[in-house]
């Protein structure tokens, strides 16, 4: 499972990254978390607000920072659909 955190490096994106790490630890499934900071790469996902959260190339959140448990739910939903 590939998770990407989109953001140019402001405090909010760092928080989202931290919450995502917690969520992945909670769920316990192997997943790679990458931080995407280049603006063109971020824009390719079509979001208008940073930070953004992408699971397996699908945008699941933008412009807000879901808590670790909410992210964990998103991860398990994505796993169930895979």
């Amino acid at each position: 499972m590939e998770i990407k955190v989109l953001g140019p490096g402001c405090a909010n994106c760092k928080r989202l990254y931290a919450e995502t790490e917690k969520a992945v630890a909670q769920v316990g499934q192997p997943a790679t978390i990458t931080k995407v900071e280049a603006i063109e790469a971020i824009m390719a996902y079509g979001i208008l607000r940073t930070p953004g959260l992408v699971i397996d190339e699908k945008v699941v959140a933008s412009g807000r920072i879901p808590g670790a448990s909410e992210i964990a739910t998103m991860i398990t939903t994505a796993l169930a659909k895979a």
Binding site: P8, M43, G46, L48, R49, V59
Partner: protein
Amino acid sequence: MGLATATPADPAPADTVRGRALRQALLLPLVGAAWWLAYARLAAAASWLTSAALGLSPRDPLGSAVEFFLYEAPKVLMLLTLVVFGVGIVRSFFTPERTRRVLAGRREGIGSVLAALLGVVTPFCSCSAVPLFIGFVTTGVPLGVTFSFLVSAPMVNEIALALLFGLFGWKVAALYAGTGLAIAVVSGLVIGRLHLESWVEPWVYRVKAGVGEPTEEALTWPGRVAAGREAVRDIVGRVWPYVLGGIAVGAGIHGYVPQDFMASFMGREAWWSVPLAVLIGIPLYSNAAGIIPIVQALLGKGAALGTVLAFMMSVIALSLPEMVILRKVLTVRLIAVFVAVVGTGILVVGYLFNFVL
């Protein structure tokens, strides 16, 4: 007395949406009433605390400053909380994605007006300025229209309006909103007319910006109330040190600066006070929360309303940090034009107010 023990007749478990909605429908009016009662008592409480509890006379500089602080600080924070909560709920109905869809392909005149109005209610933070700008201009929103949005969003925000309303009354708040919107619309129209698309950084138009599917599910009412509470936690939680700092400075000015001192260089007679105020505002960066209490104290000391409003708008709308952020997508020339157009608008508003009032 049945209200205190009332339970929903429906024996549904406590956290169904319906259960939560019912609880909120009961709790919110109570919270609102408590807020109102406390708010009405603030002035009396501040004056009592200063003279009776602390033994200071409001005629002394120190007593005057302390009473100002004790009254204004809780008052401003309470007002801020109320307005941020309300606007948080309103904003749950708007998203930048929806705004973009409304604005894409619009003709410039009506587009600029819509963009300015939507800028007020669409959630916006300056870290999102770049993705938002790119996302707008690459999907058919004209450049001028995008600028109208970019001017009104930070400047005509709920924090500024809440504070202006609380400190100066609804007329000043309405004037600020109206002139702010006018500046946004006119700036967008002017920039659109100048056809400066070539002054956007060239790589922006080459970006293959995907148009993301809307990721929001329809919100229920408890979801909207949660959005309001989240907004309060986020905004008031971040901003309160600035508010207290601004009020402390304001208290100092209120207590210690002689009456009419400001009139000498911020008063209406000094024609250069308005441009000076705009220039000083550019390198300063403050959210509205910090600057407005200072503004109130300045006004109380004889500064002219137009000069002070120009200063405020300049600090908020022409912020150096935001321009540094936008440098990624705009050439320096375009930023200069942006500053010139908006700055001129603010100047005009400043002079107008000084002249008319």
